[in-house]
């Protein structure tokens, strides 16, 4: 099990997406997943080893690191990627359910099981809302956990067994900050894409509905 699994899942989702949905998949693949695997992972690889405190007291470094990094940035990033990709599976499951129904009844119940209409439209809209919501939740979590998106060079720590307030130095703070901003930027881009897709679909289908009603009235 690795990122390849997620990549294959999302490729399957691509079939049933709108144009904006496909752009979203491309952004997630190229600018989030690939950047994570090829670059970001290595920056945070030895964060604990390279975290250095100005003290020889055993245990002080461990305790301070744990206090300032309850969940590492890179783990939050990975969780965000997984959570944000998962709602798309709802659409895949719904289409599979439709195809199953057609098989069971041995007749064509839908003009095209993969077309976004009726119940599948609702599922698609729910998946978009969930994706957007999860993106926002993770961004807020990042912000609250780390007091903004800045990573300081130095943190002051006075938790036992540290004998007094000691200076602890974080490794590669500038590089980490650059990639954190990159994460936030791509996250915001994905939120914008999801919201535009949502408004596009709602607009398109309201116009369709309105026109249908108008035609019925005329008849």
């Amino acid at each position: 099990m690795s990122w390849a699994f997620l990549r294959d899942l999302l490729s399957g989702v691509n079939k049933y997406s709108t144009g904006i949905g496909r752009i979203w998949v491309a952004v997630v693949f190229m600018f989030r997943l690939l950047v994570y695997v090829a670059a970001a992972e290595n920056i945070w690889k030895r964060e604990h080893d390279e975290f250095e405190c100005n003290i020889k007291q055993p245990g002080c470094e461990n305790v301070c690191f744990d206090h300032f990094f309850p969940v590492s940035h890179i783990r939050l990033w990975a969780l965000q990627l997984i959570m944000v990709s998962t709602p798309s599976l709802l659409v895949v499951f719904h289409v599979a359910y439709r195809e199953n129904r057609e098989k069971q009844h041995n007749q064509k119940l839908y003009r095209n099981p993969g077309k976004i209409d009726g119940g599948l439209l609702c599922t698609y809209l729910i998946s978009l809302i969930l994706k957007t919501g999860l993106e926002i939740v993770f961004l807020v979590l990042f912000y609250k956990l780390y007091n903004g998106f800045k990573i300081p060079h130095l943190v002051k720590c006075d938790i036992k067994p540290c004998p007094n307030t000691v200076d602890c130095y974080i490794s590669k703070p500038t590089e980490k900050m650059i990639f954190l901003y990159f994460l936030v930027a791509t996250s915001c881009l994905c939120i914008v894409l999801n919201l535009s897709e949502l408004s596009y679909l709602i607009f398109k289908y309201s116009i369709k509905c309105y026109l249908k009603r108008h035609m019925k009235k005329q008849q």
Binding site: R7, V35, A39, N42, H153, I170, S171, T174
Partner: protein, 262 residues
Amino acid sequence: MDWGALHTILGGVNKHSTSIGKIWLTVLFIFRIMILVVAAEKVWGDEQDDFVCNTLQPGCRNVCYDHFFPISHIRLWALQLIFVSTPALLVAMHVAYRRHEKKRQFRKGDQKSEYKDIEEIRKQRFRIEGSLWWTYTSSIFFRLIFEAVFMYAFYFMYDGFRMPRLMKCNAWPCPNTVDCFVSRPTEKTVFTIFMIAVSSICILLNVAELGYLLTKFFLRRSKKAGNSKQQPNHENKEETKQNEMNELISDSCQNTVIGFSS
């Protein structure tokens, strides 16, 4: 998701690029991505561990390293490669959009006479003309921009392309100006110069491809203008060749889309 996946996605583009485009892709994969993964990552692997400062003051090494290397060479290269590979997807998306439109029209019944069934639309080759030509050309243009921007960022951040052996650092908490020694400076310089050289070659290839496309475009236009004056329905050899090239390019985009969506 890793460089292998990128190779699969861009491999579809390879079949149907111009010959210069194929050379560009080969250079990208063999001389940049492969070198990055197989060699360069190992050279920079121990960069912070072996960055040694002439002081025992805890934290001085971390701070000095961060000051001199705000973003590591290896990460900058990885980002450059990702950004430079992305414009090819624009073309793939455009072709997919065109195909979607044709399918929609077919279902409505506008083009039943042109195509027997929807499979034929899927396999149809689109000509590189009109908006698709603009997409292809702008993808090359964006590639050029990204390459140039990253090369400049490199030069700006590291004051040239040489890796010095020794750096003098007096950032707090270093007690005074301390000497800090970079690990493997010569090897890093060699690889930096190599990557910059290959980047320049890629820029030249992109410029050549752009020039080639523009030349073909203007030649085609002038031939069409000339033909419409003399014999409106005469299809000359030049146009047949151009059509073949366009079909090849559009086929690539079709396969990219299939590869991307499968």
